[in-house]
Symmetry: C2
Subunit: 276 residues, 2 copies
């Protein structure tokens, strides 16, 4: 069962009009909310970010927090899985004609649940590879919008290279991954790109910083270069569905001789304390 514009229906019955502005223009925003043991994880942070995305593109939230909670919990209850990933998309709505400009419309809202299967510690401990690509995305990467073609092209290239992620480089600095935030440990200090318009301020990113802080790791929200990354001790990526996983190879370069580092193990462990 999925949610579409007020109704709970079968996914294969869920259709939107061709005049939906998400379909025509990528004119919408989305959120992905993890569920552990049937409980929504950091829901407030996700709903806050959703509201920020909506504000940035001037779409009025169709529901208040309690209404969201009720709808999302119902979607959670329809699933047989204890751990889930809730996908929630809001587009500006459907006009009568295709026009770039708009008058006020009723947003179209779609919500679905998928099983959440992050890798086990054993799987994650094997390390993953990434490719690097020039970051040519637009200047408002802080908005979690559905205009995602750049990200699609990057992730498909990563897949073609049997890589877990495409790490994006802007003016020689690592911004983030195509679908993740990126962290570097070097000399015992954790570096990650500061928030702003160049990255999506990941909620999992915040949890990793919270975990690293609890593990007494010094945190610097400073951008680092591709050379810093290649000569660093540990590289990680984070996202709500992957949690935090170590990258041990970037393009053709091994990070830390391809070994997963000790800092990751501690932060991974702490992160799992938070989700349990």
């Amino acid at each position: 069962m999925v949610f579409l514009n007020g109704k709970f229906i079968a996914k294969n019955q869920a259709f939107v009009p061709v005049m939906d502005r998400g379909f025509l223009f990528g004119d919408g925003v989305y959120e992905v909310i993890p569920v552990y043991n049937r409980k929504l994880f950091r829901l407030d942070a996700h709903l806050n970010r959703l509201q920020e995305s909506l504000n940035s593109v001037a779409i009025k939230s169709p529901y208040n927090v309690n209404e969201w909670l009720e709808i999302i919990n119902q979607i959670v209850s329809y699933s047989e899985h204890d751990n889930q990933s809730i996908y929630l998309q809001i587009t500006r709505g459907s006009g009568t004609k295709r026009a770039h400009t708009y008058n006020e419309l009723n947003p179209n809202i779609y919500i679905e649940s998928n099983p959440l299967h992050p890798r086990s510690q054993k799987e994650a401990s094997e390390g993953f590879s990434a490719i690097t690509r020039e970051d040519i995305r637009w200047g408002r990467c802080d908005i979690k919008s559905t205009s995602l073609l750049a990200n699609i092209l990057y992730t498909q290239q990563a897949k073609q290279h049997s890589a877990e992620e495409a790490i994006l480089i802007k003016n020689n600095k690592v911004t983030e991954g195509a679908t993740s935030n990126v962290f570097l440990i070097t000399g015992g200090t954790l570096y990650t790109h500061p928030t702003g318009t160049e990255i999506l301020s990941g909620i999992t990113r915040d949890l990793i910083l919270e975990s690293a802080n609890s593990c007494d790791i010094i945190i610097k929200e400073n951008a680092f270069t591709i050379d810093d990354m290649l000569s660093g001790d540990e590289v990680w990526i984070s996202s709500s569905t992957r949690e935090v996983i170590p990258i041990t190879k970037v393009d053709h370069n091994l990070i830390n001789n391809g070994e997963v580092g000790e800092h990751w193990k501690r932060v991974y462990k702490h992160y799992h304390k938070l989700t349990n």
Copy 2:
């Protein structure tokens, strides 16, 4: 009547699955083809550009040129209007699950016709205003993709300022409009941003250059600055639905004291020879 995935149906019956990648990711491309006197105008150029867009995002064209021609002509025939604007959108297709990466899918194809009502010469001759905005779009503006959120935000801002267009500025140079190409006449020479990844190589842009050439205007496909524009003699924008119209005010600055220039009148006239 519209065309959706092989069927001609009423527009209010045209729906796409929520798993359509256009809806989820802006993962699609489009074309807008003008029709004058029931004849498709510069169809080859439009189908060529469509093919380039498809190639850039690795979507396989579902039809060959003759098949497109047959479908589009049928859409033209259903309309009561002699002059039309054909909108054609192709998304990568619908997967079973939302995932950034994809395996081969059947593209979803949507085509509709709208009446083409460019402004009359009298209306156009009154001149229009534009606003300027920093060009923060991605680095592949040559792809006519449906990930258009930046363009949507720009055009809505133009509307809020009662302006015809938002003219975009990157590194102090005019790239193009949010939904048009931009031209400057200064000292009798026509300037416009060269083709490449920073602008969409408009087919109407080519026709304007063709017309200007026929009017013995010197053409330089060089980028010009915002100051060049403000101190220039004439500024025009072009798009397939607006053809070529003069901009006489940019932000709070009058161009040529707010007067429509003589070069525009000649080029406008020649353009209409081409479309008749």
